[in-house]
């Protein structure tokens, strides 16, 4: 019997072209060197962008991979922020333990919401998760004994053994490291057996069931993992922020993250990451004109839905391919 030529067949991922590799290397160098040549403000923005990257990865897992809508990711993010801040204050352990705790609490709530979500689809699921997000914001603002309610919660500095993080520049390498960790985690999950099950469920539940996938379990796990990653982003936030207020954990944040993931390219990890960076920068610029911010988000989201439903990067990629083929 001849051996299968498939054993060594490529996975269908074309290798990155040289230019893209060069660009990545440059970006990596820039990312590492950043704190040495810029101001604290720029580093602060970079930290924030990296947190948004992780938050987008979280949303990507549930929407992009399993195809379930969630309008509650600001809530999972907030749970992560509060849980890790409170854990950090309660026990004298290195900060990563607090982050892990935040991710676990958010993940547990995510599993619960995921189990409820089994009965719902599409717009109903979107509405239900929206309601949960609003409810959580209310909890953040009113559970005074735990969250300090509408006054906001002071976040104690993160500690790594003897090292106490007191500035954005100090926090940056850690934020970058945890962001890369989250990217690695998401890529590994996406390529794993579980990741295949996620996408199978997204494309056809009937076919997924016919292949022996436990669809209900897969959907719940997708929700839980997604919430845990969002909670982890919350823990990263506590690395460099000293204060959290419930106002910043509402629907606006959910919409921002949703926009990032959709505009970047639904279903693609790199789209989610790119969307977080591009849109995070735009949102920072728009801070100068807060009264127009939401109108502009809305307009961008609508335009992308209409003209580039596969996202910014797929859109640009297609244009480049067309130009190359002289069309």
């Amino acid at each position: 019997m001849s051996s299968s030529p498939l054993a060594s067949a490529p996975e269908g991922r074309p290798g990155l072209p040289g230019a893209a590799l060069g660009g990545l290397a440059l970006a990596a160098l820039l990312a590492v060197a950043l704190p040495f040549f810029t101001t604290g403000y720029v580093v602060y923005i970079a930290n924030l962008l990296l947190v948004f990257v992780v938050l987008c990865l979280g949303l990507h897992i549930v929407i992009g991979e399993t195809g379930q809508f969630s309008m509650a990711h600001a809530a999972f993010y907030g749970i992560g922020i509060y849980a890790s801040a409170l854990a950090n204050r309660a026990v004298d352990l290195p900060y990563p333990f607090a982050m892990l705790f935040g991710a676990l609490v958010a993940g547990a709530v995510g599993l619960f919401i995921g189990a409820l979500a089994l009965r719902m689809r599409d717009i109903y699921l979107a509405l239900a998760t929206f309601a949960f997000g609003e409810a959580m914001q209310w909890v953040f603002a009113n559970w005074d004994s735990v969250t300090n309610g509408p006054n906001g919660l002071r976040i104690a500095p993160a500690r790594f053994g003897p090292l106490e993080i007191l500035s954005d520049k100090q926090a940056y390498p850690f934020v970058l490291f945890f962001c890369l960790l989250a990217i690695g985690f998401t890529v590994v999950v996406s390529r794993s057996r579980l990741g295949r099950a996620f996408r199978a469920v997204r494309e056809s539940e009937v076919a997924a069931m016919a292949m022996g996938i436990d669809v209900r379990r897969t959907r719940v796990i997708g929700f839980g993992l997604s919430a845990a990653v969002a909670g982890f982003a919350g823990g990263m936030f506590g690395l460099f922020q000293t204060f959290i207020h419930p106002d910043s954990l509402g629907f606006q944040t959910t919409i921002l993250v949703l926009t990032m993931v959709v505009v970047g390219g639904l279903g693609s990890i790199w789209g989610a990451i790119g969307g977080a960076i591009v849109f995070g920068l735009i949102s920072e610029v728009l801070r100068q004109a807060p009264q127009y911010q939401e109108i502009i988000y809305g307009a961008i989201l609508m335009l992308f839905m209409m003209y580039a439903p596969h996202g910014l990067f797929a859109f640009v990629g297609e244009r480049i391919r067309e130009a190359r083929h002289g069309r």
Partner: protein, 237 residues
């Protein structure tokens, strides 16, 4: 020969609408058994109760000696019951290769999986040519081939085929059924749901006819082909 599948007086309902009432049928090991009937007679529902996508309200389903009517669908797949769902349910955004890999989702025997992949390519050389192509861009016939190939990747003992001829040209129908008969000759037991009664009675040994969720008629396929009422209703004269 022993019965690989035995459905014993099952009923099923969608909400308050009774879809099946006390349906019984047997599929002997190594046979092709056809399940015929008009649209909405309950053919697909019957398959769906076996693959556990639709719950039964009454009755028993036995596969290889075990009662499976309360099992979860993924457990039934692990036991070797594979349904080829109706309506081109391929994973459209995945490549042909990824679709075939999904078929082996519940397996971990790498050598066996590779052997079955080679077998699938032997049956369907077209799939091998289109390995990296998105399944959604395949033609209807190729998608049907992929569906059967994907089910074969699970290493089934019993194949539940739901309308494999649907929407295909006569030539393609012939090709698909040639493969189905070959799979059967090589040892696979098949329960076949078809609207195309002529071709189903041609390749099966025994057939059942459903009407409004109840078993109306059964018999050896060769005999049913001669039966006047069957000819009138299902064979067009």
């Amino acid at each position: 020969m022993a019965d690989l599948l035995e459905i014993d007086g099952i009923s099923a309902a969608y909400g308050r609408i009774q879809a099946l009432s006390e349906v019984s049928l047997k599929v002997p090991e190594g046979a092709i058994v056809a399940l015929l009937g008009s649209n909405g007679a309950g053919k697909s529902t019957t398959l769906n109760t076996v693959s556990r996508l639709v719950p039964v309200t009454k009755g028993r389903i036995r596969f290889a000696g075990e009662e499976i009517q309360s099992w979860a669908s993924h457990k039934v797949v692990s036991a070797g019951v594979l349904q080829v769902p109706e309506g081109r349910e391929v994973f459209r955004d995945m490549s042909v290769r990824e679709n075939l890999d999904m078929g082996a989702y519940r397996r971990s025997d790498a050598a066996g999986i590779r052997r079955d992949l080679d077998r699938v390519f032997e049956y369907f050389p077209k799939l091998k040519e289109r390995l990296q192509q998105k399944a959604g861009t395949l033609s209807g016939g190729e998608q049907q081939m992929l569906l059967i190939g994907r089910a074969l990747m699970a290493g089934p003992r019993l194949l539940l085929l739901d309308e494999p001829s649907l929407g295909l040209s006569p030539l393609l129908v012939q090709q698909i059924f040639a493969i189905i008969e070959r799979l059967n000759r090589e040892g696979l037991t098949i329960l076949l749901v078809e609207q195309n009664a002529a071709i189903a009675l041609g390749c099966s040994t025994y057939a059942y006819i459903l009407e409004n969720g109840e078993m109306a008629l059964e018999g050896a396929s060769a005999k049913l082909r001669q039966d006047d009422s069957v000819r009138r209703t299902y064979l067009g004269g």
